[in-house]
């Protein structure tokens, strides 16, 4: 199976491990990520104002490219996934945006939200299957107590994202189980890390990160996983006191599949 792949700006730079191990693991699991040519930055945040059009165009270009190849579109970064999935929803359901975007883009055939947008984790769950993934694990991460950090963007708003139960998600815990480790469920796993406010208000992000890490540690988590480079940054660089090891989920996936050297 070949998927159109939208890596996003950060995966080409500060979050290279998130990208590299997604690609390597895909090969081992029998699917291929074909990078969309000349993709443009998603913008990082979904344009919430209903009259914003220009800021939605990069997503539509990627979506239309995937449609022209008859492929589903995969993202790995939480933010890219959030933006592209919501823009796709607009293109499928919001008449005003459909019309204005298509008038501007002048595609041979209007784009009306036909492409299926999947996060890499959804591919693992719904296409590969966690049971099948577990069978391919050669290096189970036995004994490691891992907390899943979902953050905001994968889950909310659930009406559009349809990723998992927004208040009691299980996909990352099921993933952790599939790679042989022990998931640690804690209260703050779907609360915000501080997001973009950490640029100007570091203290605001610090107090939010503190709440997340304290909650995870109190339940016995020894390390966390995330799918988002900005969560990674805030959790590791804007924490007060003793931090915690945080990895991208693709790093642990590659470790379990025997692709990446084990780091303790």
């Amino acid at each position: 199976m070949i998927y159109s792949y939208f890596p996003g700006c950060t995966l080409k730079n500060k979050a290279k491990d998130l990208d590299l191990y997604a690609r390597e693991s895909a090969k081992a699991l029998g699917f291929e990520l074909e990078e969309i040519p000349e993709w443009q930055c998603c913008g990082g945040v979904y344009p919430l104002a209903s009259d914003e059009i220009a800021t939605k165009l990069p997503s539509v270009r990627a979506l239309a490219d995937a449609k022209s190849k008859g492929q589903d579109l995969i993202t790995v970064c939480s933010a890219c996934h959030h933006v592209i999935k919501r823009v796709n929803d607009d293109m499928a359901n919001v008449n005003d945006i459909q019309t204005r975007v298509n008038n501007y883009m002048g595609l041979d055939e209007p784009y009306l939200g036909e492409t299926t947008v999947l996060h890499y984790l959804e591919v693992l769950r719904d296409r590969v299957g966690f049971d099948e993934l577990a069978k391919k694990v050669t290096n189970p991460l036995t004994g490691r107590k891992i907390g899943a950090y979902y953050g905001c963007l994968l889950l909310r708003p659930s009406a559009t994202m349809q990723f998992d139960d927004p208040e009691n998600p299980t996909i990352l815990e099921d993933f952790i189980r599939a790679i042989g480790a022990e998931p640690v469920v804690y209260a703050m796993r779907n609360e915000c890390c501080g997001g973009y406010v950490s640029l100007k208000a570091k203290d605001q992000a610090e107090s939010m990160v503190d709440r997340v890490l304290s909650s995870a540690k109190a339940k016995g988590a020894e390390e966390l996983i995330t799918a988002c480079p900005l969560c990674m940054y805030n959790l590791t660089k804007n924490c007060k006191g003793e931090g915690m090891k945080v990895s991208y989920f693709t790093e642990l996936l590659a470790e379990a599949l025997g692709i990446k050297e084990v780091q303790s």
Partner: protein
């Protein structure tokens, strides 16, 4: 700064503020509540009362994280984050109005910052 009307906020946000039943769950869910001078539930009632100027001058528009906790948990599907965003863009779309300027960046940057952070902050804080 020119004050926009409540109708303009409703139009940009796409939110019908009349649906709010003032349960306060948005503010109870908001992780930036302590940082805000005007809270998410108040944004809805200020718009409903046509009182937009205090919202445009509120520091809350730079404190909202767009984490969508209020959107997810609102039992009436009012979407407070969209109202806050509409106020924010109503400020930023005016000449000279910005929350983040490129001149500030050298001081704010550190070598670990992901591109995603810079992109998101500029999208939220500058037009």
């Amino acid at each position: 700064m020119k004050t926009v009307t409540a109708d303009q906020i409703r139009e940009i946000s796409g939110v019908d503020t009349r649906k709010c039943m003032k349960c306060g769950r948005c503010s109870a869910s908001c992780p930036a509540y302590d940082e805000m001078d005007i809270r998410p539930h108040q944004f809805i009632s200020y718009v409903q009362n046509g009182n937009i100027e205090p919202l445009m001058n509120s520091k809350s528009i730079s404190k909202c994280l767009s984490c969508f906790a209020c959107v997810e948990r609102c039992p009436r599907n009012v979407k407070p984050a969209k109202v806050i965003e509409a106020v924010r863009v109503s400020v930023l779309r005016q000449r000279g109005e910005t929350i983040l300027s490129a001149d500030e960046m050298p001081e704010l940057l550190d070598e670990n910052m992901p591109q995603q952070l810079l992109m998101s902050a500029f999208r939220k804080y500058k037009k």
